[in-house]
Structure formats: C-alpha cells, structure tokens
C-alpha cells in the first residue's frame, strides 16, 4: 500500500471540459470511499482501498490500470455483482450499499448491462434467446422479449443470425450479441470489462465503434481496459493503481473508431 496520504480521488470536472455535447447534471454512478477486500484463509486481500468516483449520464468513461490493480473488482462492485466491504455507492439515484441479494438482482436486471471479456453467452440457446435472457428475469412475456431481442439484434447488425448458436459466431459477432443483451433492458449504464480483450485489433475497433455510436445515442458506458489506445475512445480515463484512483484524465479529443457499424443510427 502506498504511504502517501489521501488518494487523489476524483473531483467533479467542470462541465465544459467533459464534452461538446450538453451533459445533464445527474450522476449515474457516484461512489464514496468504496472498499473491497476478498476474504481468504489467513486474512483479507484488499482489492479496492477507498475509491470515490462518479459517472454522469451519457458519459463514456474508461478505467485503466495494470493487471491486478482492481479494475475488475471495481467494475463488479459497480455492477452489483459484488457487495462493497466499505464505503457507499449510489447507482442511478439508488443507494445500493444496503440492498439484499434479491434487491441487487433486480438492480442488476434493471440498471446494469454487463459486457464481459469472454462474451459469456449460453452455448445451448440461440442468439435471440441469449439477447432476451435479461427480460426473462424482468418477467416480460415471451413474445415481447423475443420481439425486443430481435429489434436489438437488427440494430447491432445481426438481424439475419437470430437462430444461430453462439458457437457459430465469430468473436466480434459474439461480443456484439453480448452488447445487444446488455442493451435489451435499456439499462442506466453499460459496464464492459476488457470487452476487446479476446478480439483481434480490427474487431476490437468495431466494438469501439459500436460503443461510440451507442455513446452518441446517449448511452452511459464504463469500460475497463489495460490498453491506453482503447481507453482513449472514452471521454475520461480513471487510472487505478493498487486499488486506488491514481489519476483522472480528461481525453481532450477522444479517438474515433472509423468504421461505423451498420444500423446503429436507429438507436439515435
């Protein structure tokens, strides 16, 4: 642990610095001294040591750091997959720190769209079913959720692959299906943990393009990456080191993924 006093926790940046687009004032994510220690035999392993950060609605933020710096842990806590062991966390106006397991499940379902490095699609279900999966737990009737899933797949350009199994898709396609699944519930924020980690650079760029298109359409996105270049597709980079925020950097002119994925305009 660093011996330096209070970490340079993020302070609200001036509105003008964020982006040319008008940013609404409300915060989707706001944490205060978030801590997380993994319980192991022989004591706890601290992974987060007091993280205070916020994400505005419509922002595209990157979290960067070396392997083991606590990026995934932070994202899991933000995604309500882990409960913080200290601090507080407000998600879209809800204080989630004190929620029980069932309530957290509902919050995950309604507020969060998670995109994993390893896609995490159900291999035995075809891709419409995969995309519709969150709506099963939103208790939507089957025909409604399949219709919504179809719409979402058309938006990301896989409308002709509805009944393929995940095994029949390429990595880039699989990740797009996973993004469609994250979008289908219209969540408050999309959390992506190394979304391009399993993809080659061209497909990775496609995913970045998709994120930027979604961002333009007003979505809030938080991505985790260890790659400086990928991080620069976002508007802001939060640097993580040993479970602490070491630096918050505003990307003056974010990179632009050249390719635009077909049909994404529909989202706007």
């Amino acid at each position: 642990m660093s011996a330096t006093p209070a970490p340079d926790n993020e302070t609200l940046p001036p509105a003008a610095a964020a982006d040319a687009a008008p940013v609404r004032d409300d915060l989707v994510i706001a944490t205060q001294d978030l801590a997380k220690a993994y319980v192991m035999e022989g004591g706890g392993v601290p992974a987060l040591c007091g993280v205070s950060m916020h994400v505005r609605r419509g922002e595209f933020v990157s979290i960067m750091g070396q392997s083991g710096s606590g990026k995934s842990t932070l994202l899991h806590v933000l995604g309500c997959l882990h409960r913080a062991s200290g601090g507080s966390y407000r998600l879209d106006g809800i204080e989630v720190t004190d929620l029980n397991d069932d309530e957290l499940s509902v919050v995950r379902n309604q507020k969060i769209g998670f995109v994993f490095q390893k896609f995490n699609l159900l291999p035995h279900e075809d891709i419409v079913e995969n995309v519709a999966l969150p709506l099963v737990y939103a208790r939507q009737p089957r025909h409604e959720r399949l219709a919504a899933a179809k719409r979402m797949l058309q938006v990301i350009g896989l409308g002709d692959r509805l009944h393929h199994k995940p095994g029949e898709l390429s990595g880039g396609q699989s990740q797009r299906v996973a993004i469609a699944r994250a979008l289908v519930t219209e969540p408050a924020v999309i959390l992506a943990d190394e979304p391009t980690g399993n993809l080659d650079s061209v497909t990775g760029l496609e995913i970045m393009a998709l994120f930027q298109a979604l961002h333009r359409a007003g979505r809030t996105i938080v991505q985790v990456t260890h790659d400086r270049e990928k991080a620069e597709y976002g508007q802001r980079i939060i640097h993580l080191k040993d479970g602490l925020i070491s630096e918050v950097e505003v990307v003056v002119s974010p990179r632009r993924a050249e390719q635009v994925v077909s049909g994404v305009e529909v989202l706007a």
């Binding site: 899991h76 995604g79 997959l81 882990h82 397991d101 069932d102 499940s105 509902v106 995950r108 379902n109 309604q110 998670f114 994993f116 995490n120 699609l121 159900l122 035995h124 279900e125 999966l133 969150p134 099963v136 737990y137 939103a138 208790r139 009737p141 089957r142 699944r181 519930t185």
Partner: protein, 424 residues
Amino acid sequence: MIEWGNAVRIGLMGLAVHKFRAALSMLGIIFGVASVVAVIAVSEGARGEVLKQLAAMGVNNIMVTGLDWRSGGSETRDIKKKARLGSNGLTLREAEAALAHCRLLVTYAPLRKVQASIRSGETPVSADVVGTTPAFLGVMGYRLREGRWFLPPDEKEARRVCVIEDTIRQECFKLESPLGRTLVIDHEPYEVVGVLESKEASSDQKYEVIDIKQLNRRCYIPLAATLARMTQEPLSDQVSEIIFQCRSSRDVHAAAAVLNRCFDAWHNMESWRPDDKDFKVRVAQDLVKQTEASQRIFNYVMGCSAGISLVVGGIGIMNIMLANVTERRREIGIRRAVGATQHDILRQFLFESLSICLLGGLMGCLLGVGFTWLVQYWTQWQTVLAWWSMFVALAVSLLDGVAFGTYPAWQAGKLDPIEALRYE
C-alpha cells in the same frame, strides 16, 4: 417467477444436453414407479379375487362338511381312521338342532352329493348330482338364468325335478330351452325346471370351493329325492355338507365356534385333533385369508423394492443434479449477472430434477403395465390396473424429485455470481 412455458423449455433443454446421463439417473425412478404400479395392480386384483371368493361362498355362511375315514388328504393315519370309523356323518337332525341352539344362525341348506349316472336321452352327461332344499338358492345367493328353483312341494313330495347349471344346459340342450325336458338320473326321468346363471371362475384354483373342472356342472335335485331313491338306507337323513347362514358377517366366527362345540359334543370328538375329526367347520372369510396372506407377502416384497428403487433413484437424481450444477456454474453466473435471483436459479434446477422424475415416472408407468402383465402371466394371479395407481406413482416420483432435487438446486442458487462466472 418465470412463466411455466419457459421453465419447461429450460428444464427439457437441460435434459437434452445430457440425454444418456439423464436416462441412467432415471432408472431408479423408472423401476420404483413400475413396482408401485405393479403392486397396486396385484393388490387390487387380489381384492377382486377375495370378493369373488366371498361371493362364491357367501360372506355370511359357515360350511360344515362331513368327513369319512377315507377323506382328508394324503396321509390317512390310523388315528384318523379310528376317529372317524363309527361316524354317522352329518344329519338333518343335527342341522335342525344347531339352528335351534344357536340364535346367530338364520337358516341352513343341506347338500347331499350322490354318485349317480346321468343321461340326456342316450348321451351320458358329466355332472355332479347334488340333493338340496328350497333354502339353498337364497343361502348361496345364486341367481336363476331361467325357469324356477325348488318349491316346498318338490321337497315334500320328493318330486323328480332338477335344476341344472349352465354348462350342462349348453352341452345337452344347446340353443333350445331346457325347461320341461328330461334328464335321466339313475334310470329315473327328472324334469328340468330351472337353469342357474353361470358362476364366474375364480382364477385361484387352490382355494376354490368348487372344483374348477366341475364348475357349473352341477345338477340339483330335491334332497328328499336323493334320500328316498339313492341310498341304501332309505330312512337315513345323512348329508355331506350343511351350509349355515348367519344374520350378519360379524357373527360368523362366534357362530362357527358354537357349531364346533355342538358337533364335537354330538360326535364325541372333543378329544381329537381338529384334523382328525369327522367334520370340518369352515368360514368363507377364513378361506379367503389364505389368498390374502400369499398376496400380502408379494405386496411387501414389491413394496420394499419400490421403496428402495425410489430412494436409490432419488440419490441418482441428486447425483446427476449436483454434477449438473457444477458443470453449469458458468450458466448460473450468466443468469445471475443479468438479473436472476437465487430463487430463480433454485427454481430452474428444481424444475429440471422434477422434469427428470416426471419423465422417469411416465416411463415407469409404462414399465409397470409390463410388470403387471408379467406377474399375471407367471403367477396366474388376477391383476387390476387401477388408473389411480398411475397418479400415485407420478406423485411419488415428483416427491422424489423435490426430496432429492432441492439440495442441488439450493446449492446452485447460493453460488456467488462472480465465482460461478470464473468457472471454465
């Protein structure tokens, strides 16, 4: 709560992925359910059998049979001979005395079996000639197919009339009406006045009152006629069997005890072993007990094997479900990540084990029908496939699914989402 359609789909898909494994783990349930179905079919059949036997003998009836020194099994021991040698058999006087003595008895019907030749025209007929009284029909509860039973004048005047059973009618008269026709019994013509309805053969011959080959082959004539014409001692009132009827089936055993004491006294038989005595008092209900006992053993054996199969089957289900949960941790993690609650996961896996059990139960029902058929084929026991036994069997298999599927499902539900997602 996920809607049922989706739950079924997910459950069946889980099965489809591991068809062979699911089939193996179902075996216990299949055999358990099959045994349940077969046990119920056999015991239902036995119940029918018992009722049939009771009906054949009369629930309220006590049979007193006279035994001479020749009758009664393989070993004719000297002692038995000695006991029975001077015996006069049963007599009508004794029957009257017993009726007067025991208030539990309502009436009686004597039977006298005689050795007699019987012909229809010139053709010899294979039949047992039995003399009896007008009371017999009511005591036995037999029904007439056509014509009439004996009336008091037939008995009083020892008329030459007869009532035949159905097999004789079929053999001697085919499609013609036998009423008014004559049969020649020991060279004397007897007019046929009635035909009894044929009695259903009991499949369990061992305990049948009437020899199966001679079933429906009796020719009844008035007792007086047999006494007058067919004995060497014309004044004898000896009969081969007396059937006493009680007021109610509850009195049967008490009345039988009284009869035993009466005949013991009259025949000086108190000091002999029951098997050596020259008479035997039998109660319909007791004869039936033997049938019940043999089938009860079968029920116990099959019932135990059903129980063991179901427990073993349940353990099989638990085993496959635990393997399932371990193997599908990633799926569980994914579902949890997109919003499934612990309950949703628990329900999904519980539903899956219920699907396996229900499917096993259905297959077990089919196999149970086969089992039942085999039992009937090999043992000749009457079996009755009861539709409710299928429901019992399916309910039991579902119970198995709940009992042994809950623990794995609970394990699945309480998995940590991130831990589960990390699983390869």
